[in-house]
Every structure is written in structure tokens, then in C-alpha cells.
Symmetry: D2
């Protein structure tokens, strides 16, 4: 059996990463690739590293014949997905990699400051954090990819919050973010000469939109409002997010809870107690590495999680969800080892 | 059918890369991993990015039971392989990634300044540049990996030299080399702070040992002495070699010759006339990208080739050769797309 | 007037940085440079970027004639300074860049696990955080350089702790550290290929020795024990430390306190409320940039400080202290603008 | 005596570098800074690393009162300088950092494909390669900065071409170029994620506009046409150009000629025979390092030169020329040591 997929918005980094992963998938075929502004170009022109693959030429979305497509990945800038998904065939399975369907209607309005153009679809969308929404994803028609930061932090904290192993009012998450997370769009502060040799925080003070996901998810877990502190920092690395989460709770209990929770998860690996994960050890892969360290100050614990923002943080997660939605083995196309160095 | 392999010298970057590639190989199983100084350690301690794999613990070479092993990859520092290979079971297939069996006895003595300790094996060893020694490799028991620089340049020049499309006495090869080529051994000039923000040539003036391979191979192609100019430069990139070869010859004829030669090769891609390849477009893969550009000065042509030194330049080549020696499809485990960005 | 200085231990990065800075100092002359293992070599061989300077050849310490030397900078690995300083002429002014004289006798023993070999000198040594010990430094014979991390965090927190503007029992400091801080010694994890594309914490759980300085200094400020949480992370940048300090306190009051404290300091710059500093904006200079941001969670504030670990975090601080000790203008040789990009 | 200067086009990297250098100049004051699109902003907003300096706010060019200005640096994109310089007060000394006045009228038209709008000024402009046009620069009103690549290669080759020590018809120059040379303008291929981990040639085949300078200058030296081969390659480094020039000639004679030529030059340093310079050893400085190596192939020589493209390749050269034009010591503001690491 081969399933046919389309990638809508294939000219960005997440689109290219989907192609890279699907190229190793034994049962998935890319039937269409779209990129409105680059329609007509071969993918090899937009991404020469994919030159060896036999891929369909980029088209506009209008040119796609969806009749034979089983599932569409939508990798458009936020705000554009909602209008598009609304127009897609109603039975087409959709994995959206953007922000448009991640939040409740209230959450969306609050964090994105605009009315949603497809409110009728919002209730249907399932939050795509595979390891925590697996059953709902398997049954879903529309799955919303999580924010890459949101995924990284939730792997570290969800089991702890749900079990109330940590003080819910004192969670500090300091993130180090690789540059590809900003995508391929042109911004002065993303130029090589601006980012190389630099580290700097951004979206400081609780303004980053992924906080909408934390608020929604963490509060739902415990039935009360949870507000974490969250500051991302750009680091001169291509891929990767490393989240250092400072929490109040017993390190042994925290480590045990994470080990228990992820024991059967194929992509989540908890390091031995006291060891810290490294960003480069998951690069290019769908793995998450987690570490727990007790501080010399009693009752204070550091939980660190790291993943590849383009893979597990975005396109890998999307493929994992697509596998589930299509009734396939969840790990197909995703067992590539990290690339090091 | 599953074949069993051993990796002798698995604690270096090429050893880790072999493990990464073989992890995607449908018919190959790693039965033994050795590293004398790290014997007893799990591979996950030496290379935490391989943590998700179920791998044998590192042992000494003496501890390996070769009875069930079909082929051994030898990834030891040069000079150590020859003594080791001599002691291995005489029928064991061997792919050596080092320099010990690359050169003729005279070439070895001249470039390495020492007597070979296994001269009886030298005649048997086949030079491992797959695309040019495929039939002999298929039949070989002992295959010698090429130098990573030597491979990069030969892909650009062999067809041109053999067809005498270029002036054999005026070939200038300027290389840009990623840092992982220096391996994991401790050298002051390989520290991050020394290499970051730097570019510098090394082994200047015709002293680099890979020149022994060029001399041997290019001279053999045309039955006369060929001496190219060759200067490698370290650039602050993890993986990759990009060779800029300045030759005298007709650009159209050169481009046509490369296209014809590589038309059926699964890993060698010739770009359209006038386009240059980029190092990042082959990173993490077994592909070689080649480009040809005619200069405004008539009769002068630039031929550029690029590959990943740890993959196609070393471990990927080794696996490709092992596949041939074991009667398997040559591309197994090697079709991973490059990782970009 | 020209003062003569010696740099003892000139073959490390801090030694080279001292030479770079002193080269622009209008009243200071380098009379001696030592490096035991490289004695006899010209400095241009050890550090070719200093090739244009007319510098004394490296010697052993024994070869130095201290009779005409006004001040010695000691840039030796920790543990070696104490034995050396003991043997220097008793009236020679000394700025030690290492850890040997930073801590009280109890602190030293506790954090370095060894008896001090020059306990008679410990009481005399002044802690070299210029902006907070200026008067004592001016009068001192022996000044101990601070840890580079210790300096970075203290610029952010000292005024706040002293004025008790923040909760003393809930201070989280997450640091991002450039690689040159590890020095020029050979360690596998400092190789380019290991650090490039990586971010990882180290000395986790309260084990970093700079905590000895925080314990000592912060507790002294308020007359009670203060124990901060502190986790450094290596980032692939040559120079720079950026400290993200998460505190409980009013952001406006915190910003006002820092502004007031540093209004007259030539090297400490507080950004407008709500702005974050960037590591690359102080690179190569003796400046510290500080930023304060109030979080959406009321009462939670982020204070970020950044400096160049080799300059303000080490050699710049040392020169600033030397200027004071020699009765010179404190800023001589130190007003170089940061280099960007 | 203090001279007043204006920097027209101060929002680019070369503008910022001029400010950084002039900040250490004992006799030069920045009286005006312009940037049309950022007029009204403080320089600290555009370049926060200059925050500690007391600088005039950015204005439009129209707002500048040139009456008290002794010299203007013009750092505008090519094509814009010519119209501007035409409108400046006729006696104002001008150092143009762009391409508009580098070439003869014929050369300009040929390489830039447009008519010059200030042809009356072209004859007056002096080519700003200080070490070779010093006397004419001293007397000039209008000096044209050289291309950064053009400067790098000319330091290596001019003395050799002029003395006909090398074969004029066989010169291959392979350049490695830091990214800041592309400036601060938005281009997809200058994003961090595109340039990090990449090396690739550009302007291949003799299309780079700096060839106009080589053609003009080298041909003038010997009274016949000289056409070099020249291929620049982007390397992931912030600053620096390293030119590997492959020539035919005697290495000893070449080394001797360069040593003799630069013996009295304050910024040009010829390494001992056989040694190669490194890009990081001149970073942040106005120095040029040159190396000469004879190949094992007799009669073939590698000449390598390296400089910082923003400093000696652009703003440092401009300041050096301004010093001459203003009757000041040529080295003022320019003796900063390189920053390493």
C-alpha cells in the first residue's frame, strides 16, 4: 500500500524537511508540492540538496488535483492556513504545521489578535503533540502542529504538571533556539553576520505566542490557571532547541516520573539521573533527549529537554501524526539517527 | 538475509558515521564494536547521539569473536590498520577506512616514510573509489578507503584526465575542508576558538599525503607522470569538502564528459552548465555534486566537486564498497537525503 | 611616565588579550612575557595575530628580572598562581587573573578541595570586581581577578541584592558561555566539531566553582546566606557570556536601581526598560550591557547582563585594576569599541 | 588640531566600522552621520554596540551642514555615490567607499552597464589602494575606495606583476570571503541558516565586478592586457578575505620581492618563507598578512594574502586615506591589534 500526500507550502524549511523525511518512508509518495510564488520551478532549484529525488514540480495550490491525495501537509505562514484548509476537500486529511489551529478560539484571538476565518474547523482540530494526543490524532481529520518551543517544553513539563510534582506557580523556562526556526523569510536580524557570534533573548516578558499553547495545555492538565515564565534566546546553531526548565520539586521523583512516562515512547529518551542532554545529539532526528538534575539547593530541580526544531519540533511531528492518521506504523520515515558532528 | 559486520575503531567520527548509516540498512547488523581505550563503555557514552540504538558494547579487538562476522570495517589511525588486518581471519572481508592500503608499496614508503608491516597484503588491496573500481571491489577481500580529499578531486578530474580533455601539466586544486576531517583527536589548532572565524591553508607546497593517491591514480590513467597542485584550507564547517579545480580545457567538452560519465551513477550529480555546487547541499549524504564553469578567459575552466567527508568521503564510501563485496545492492543504507539547513 | 609590566603565563588567551589591550595603552610597556613550556619562542609564533607588535620573547619566570617591573599580571592555571605569587618580590604589585586568591580561606578549601600554599597572602588579596571594590583595589598590592561568570552575574544582581529589591531565596541564573572561556588547553569536548552546532549545560546542579564567589559575595552583602541557582551552557560563540537572571521583584524598581548604580560607571550600560542586551554588542570590549524586563506574571523580572569573557570578564578587568593600582586613569587601554559584526 | 568628518551612509557595516575606528582616533571628530531611511534614529538604535559613544543622531544628507566638515566618508550602495558626490561642496574632501569612482569611464561602463552621472569627477578620483597610490592620495580631493577583494589580491600580486616575476597569463586567484562583505541588505542566501555549514563559489567564470579593477590596475602596471582568473567563495566567517593566488614564478624571488616591497609599510606583513597566513589573525585590524610557498612542482608558487574586509578592505583603508588627505599621520586610529580568538 502506498499513500499519496501533498505538501502545500513546500518552499520553506519545514517543507524541505518533510520531503527529506518522506524520501525514506517506505509507504508514502509525494504527489504534489506547492509554493505559490515559486510555482513552475523544480524543487531542485529551490532546494538543491533534494536534487537527487524524483519530485513533482512546484505548482500553485489551485493546480493540485486532490482526488488521489490521501493527506495534505500544510506548511504555510500563520494566518494563511485557515483560509486554505477551509477550501480543501472536506474529507481530505490535513496536518497543519502552522499556528492556525493550535489554540482554542479564545486563545487564538487573544494571541494572534485577529478573528479566525475558519471558526467552524477549530473545534475539530486536534493538538498535535503526538505522545499526549495519540488516540485523538489517530481518529482526526485535521491535526494542528504544535509550536516547536511548545513541544520542547511540554516534553519536559507535562508529566510533572499533571502529577503536580512541581510548584505550578514557579516554573522558569529558558530556551536556546537554533536559527532555522525563524524560517527562510528575509529579516535583517537573521542575516549570518547578525546572528553569528551572538546570543540574545527575544519575545521577552511573556510575549511569545507559544505561551498561548502553554497556558492552554498546562491549565487544562490541572484544571487551574498555570502561567510559566518563558524566554527564548537565539543561538548561532542551524537546528535545535534546548529548554532549561527550573522547577521546584524533588529531583528523584521528577526523574522517575519522566522515565515512567516515556519508557514506551520510541522517540523520547530520558538520560540517567544527573546527566544533561546536548542539542547536537538530536540534530536531524525525531528524538527528544531529556535530563534531570537536582540542585545543591534542596528542592530545586533542573529539567532539560532538547529536540530538532525542524524535525521533531515540526516536520517530524507532522509525519508522525500523518502516520497515525493514515493507520501506518507511527515511526515510518522517522527512525533516522541524529547526525553528529 | 542479514549480514554481520564489525566496526574496529568505533570511537572516532567515521566509526560513528558507519553506525548511523548502518542503522538504516535493511540487511546489515552490527555484531561488534571495538575501541581499545574505551573498551567496556556503551557506545551511547562515547556518542550520545546514538543512544536510541541497540548496539553492542565497545570491546577490545581481542574480545571479538570473528566466527560469525561477514565483514569488518577498520577505522583506525593510519599505521595501525596494517598490523591489525594482518592478524584478522584470512577469509574475513575487510574495508579499511585508513591510509594503510591505499598506495602501492613504493607510494606508501615514499609518503608515509615507513616500511609497511603487511607487505604481503598490499597487492591484494583494491583502491576503494567505488565508481571507478566497482568490478574489482565486488571481487575483493580487502578494500582500501580513499582519502576524503582524494575522492573529492578524483570525481572532478578522473574522466577529464583519462580522456585527456585538459592540460595534464596545469591542474590547480584549491580545497575547502570541514573540520571533522581532522577527527576527534586532540590538537590545539582544532579547538573551537581556533577554527571558528578562521580560514587557513595547510600541508602547503605539495606535502599533503593525499597527493600520493593523486600521483598514483592520475599517472596510471594516462601512463605518464601527472602532478597536480593541491592546497587544502580549513573552513569552519563541521562536514564537507569543496574542491575548486582550475583546469585548461574546453568547458563544454568537460561538462559533457562529466555528464556522460556519471549519467548512470546513483550518487554523482552533475549540475547544469555554469552552475556551482554548494557544500551544504550534500551534507550528511553519500552524494557528490559537480559543477563546470567556463571562464571569460578562453580555454580556462573551473570544475567544482563537493561531498561530505565523513559520508561519501569515508564511511559512506566504505559502506558502498561493503555492499558490493557482500553481493548486496550498492545503495543500501546510503540513500539518505542531505540535511539542509 | 611609563609603567613596566610583566605578563606571567602569556601563552593562553587571557595573556594574548592583555597584550592586545596594553598595545593601545599610552603609558604601559610590556617588559616581560613568560610561558614555561614555550620559553624561547617569539610571541608571534604562539599568537601570530600579535605579529606586528614589538614584544619581548617568551621566557621562563626564572629568567625575568623583576627589578624594573612595576606590576605583574599572572595568568596561570588555577593552583599555580599561589605558589608563584609567594615567590615574587614582596613589593611587586600583582594582578592575578586566576582563581587562587578569589575566595576566603574557607571558601577556597571548600571549592578547590586543597590547602592553599600561600595562606599568608590570602588576607591581603582584594576581590577584583572593580566597580564594587575600587577603593580597596586602588590601595592593594595583590588583586584577585573574578571568575568571568561571577563578574557577569554580579553586575546584574549585586545592587539588587544589596538593596534587597529581590527575593534572596529565589534567584535563577541561566548562562550562555562562549567557548574561549575554556582556554587553550586540549579537551575533546572543546574541539570545533564537538562545539559547533551544539548547546549544552555543564557543571550542573550547583557544582561550578564560581558559585564559591557568589556565595561569598552575595552573603556578605546582606549578612545572611544567599544561594543562587546557576547553570552555565556552552554556546558556539568565540567570546561572550550572557546571563539571564530570573528574579522576584518589581521591574521598575530593579531597572531604576541598576540605572542609578551604574550612572557614573564608564563601562556599565543599562539599556532602556524592556530591552534585552545582545552578546555580540560587547564583543572585544570592556563594556557590560544590562537589560531589565518585567514579565506578564506580576512580580517576576528578567535581568540580563552580557560581557566579553576574555575582556571585561578577565583581561580587561585585570587592566582596569592595574590602572587603579598604578595611579593611572582607570579607562586607559580599555575604551575600544566592540567589534560588530 | 581636530578635524571634523561626516559619514554619509552610516547604517551599513562599513559605516559602523568607520565609527568604531574613528572612536580611537586622537584628532578626528564625527560631526555628522546620515542614513536616509533611518534618519532621526540615534546610532545606538541601529548599532547597539556603539551605545557607549557620544555620537550625532542620524540625519538625512540634506540636513547636514557641511560648512564645518573637513572630509566626508561616503558609504552608499554603488550607483548612489556618484549622484551624491556631485552635489557636495566642491572643496570638501571625499573618501568614497563604494564602486562609483574606482574605474576609468570605460571600465565603469563596461562592468556596471550604465552611464556615469558624474563623468566630470571621474578623472579627478584617485584609486585608493594606499600603499600604491600614497602620493596621489595625499594630494587628492576625491579618493575612491577599492573593492575588498581587489585590495586583497593586489597586495599579493602587484609587486610580482610589476616586476614581471610571474607568468602574466597564468594567474589563478581563489578567494574565501567572510559574509559581512555582502553588507546588511536582505538576501535569502545571506540568512544564517543558508550560510552556516556552507561553502560555495559565486560570480563564477569571470563575472565579478572587482575584475574590472584587476584588469585596469594590472594592465596598467605592465602596459599590456592582464586577465587573471578569480573565483570568490563564501565561507561562514563574519570578517575576512583570504586569497590563494597560484602563480608561475620562482618562490624565493617572489618572497624576496614582497619582503622588499613591504619592508617599510606599517600594515603589510610578509611571513617567513613557507608559512601561510590565517584569516583570524588579522580580524578587526588594518593589517594584511602575506605568505609565499613554493610547490613541489618546480616553478609553481602559492602566494596567500589575508585582510579584514570591513577594516583594511574598506573602512580601515578609507581612514588611512583620509589621514593622508588631511595631512595627518597615516596610522592614526588604525593600529588596533587583531582580535583573537
Amino acid at each position: 500500500m502506498t499513500v499519496n500526500v501533498a505538501i502545500l507550502g513546500a518552499s520553506g524549511y519545514t517543507g524541505a524537511e518533510l520531503v527529506r523525511l518522506i524520501a525514506t518512508h517506505p509507504m508514502m509518495r509525494i504527489a504534489a508540492l506547492t509554493a505559490d510564488r515559486k510555482a513552475g520551478q523544480p524543487m531542485a532549484q529551490v532546494f538543491p540538496h533534494l536534487r537527487h529525488l524524483d519530485l513533482p514540480r512546484l505548482t500553485t495550490i489551485e493546480q493540485v488535483d486532490f482526488s488521489g491525495i490521501d493527506l495534505a501537509f500544510v506548511a504555510l505562514p500563520h494566518g494563511l492556513s485557515q483560509a486554505l484548509v477551509k477550501e480543501l476537500p472536506p474529507k481530505l486529511k490535513v496536518v497543519d504545521l502552522g499556528a492556525d489551529f493550535r489554540l482554542t478560539p479564545e486563545g487564538y484571538k487573544s494571541w494572534y489578535g485577529a478573528d479566525h476565518v475558519a471558526p467552524e474547523l477549530q473545534p475539530e482540530a486536534v493538538y498535535g503533540l503526538t505522545e499526549f494526543y495519540r488516540d485523538r490524532i489517530r481518529a482526526a481529520r485535521l491535526v494542528a502542529g504544535t509550536g516547536c518551543n511548545a513541544a520542547t517544553v511540554q516534553f519536559a513539563l507535562r508529566p510533572l504538571i499533571e502529577a503536580r510534582l512541581i510548584d505550578l506557580d514557579d516554573i522558569v523556562c529558558d530556551l536556546k533556539n537554533g536559527i532555522s526556526g525563524a524560517g527562510r523569510s528575509l529579516k535583517e536580524n537573521m542575516l549570518f553576520a547578525e546572528r553569528s557570534e551572538d546570543v540574545a533573548g527575544y519575545s521577552q516578558g511573556g510575549r511569545h505566542r507559544h505561551l498561548g499553547e502553554f497556558d492552554q495545555e498546562f491549565s487544562a492538565l490541572v484544571g487551574r490557571e498555570v502561567r510559566i515564565l518563558f524566554t527564548p534566546h537565539l543561538v548561532p546553531v542551524n537546528r535545535g532547541i534546548l529548554a532549561s526548565c527550573y522547577v521546584k520539586g524533588d529531583p528523584q521523583a521528577i526523574h522517575a516520573a519522566l522515565q515512567a512516562r516515556y519508557a514506551d515512547e520510541p522517540f523520547c529518551i530520558v538520560l540517567p539521573m544527573g546527566e544533561l542532554p546536548a542539542m547536537s545529539h538530536v540534530q536531524g532526528s525525531n528524538f527528544v533527549h531529556l535530563g534531570v538534575v537536582g540542585d545543591r539547593v534542596a528542592g530545586r530541580t533542573l529539567v532539560v529537554s532538547t529536540l530538532d526544531n525542524l524535525n521533531k519540533g515540526s516536520s517530524g511531528q507532522a509525519l508522525q501524526n500523518a502516520n497515525l492518521m493514515l493507520g501506518l506504523d507511527e515511526t515510518l520515515g522517522l527512525m533516522l539517527a541524529p547526525i553528529f558532528p
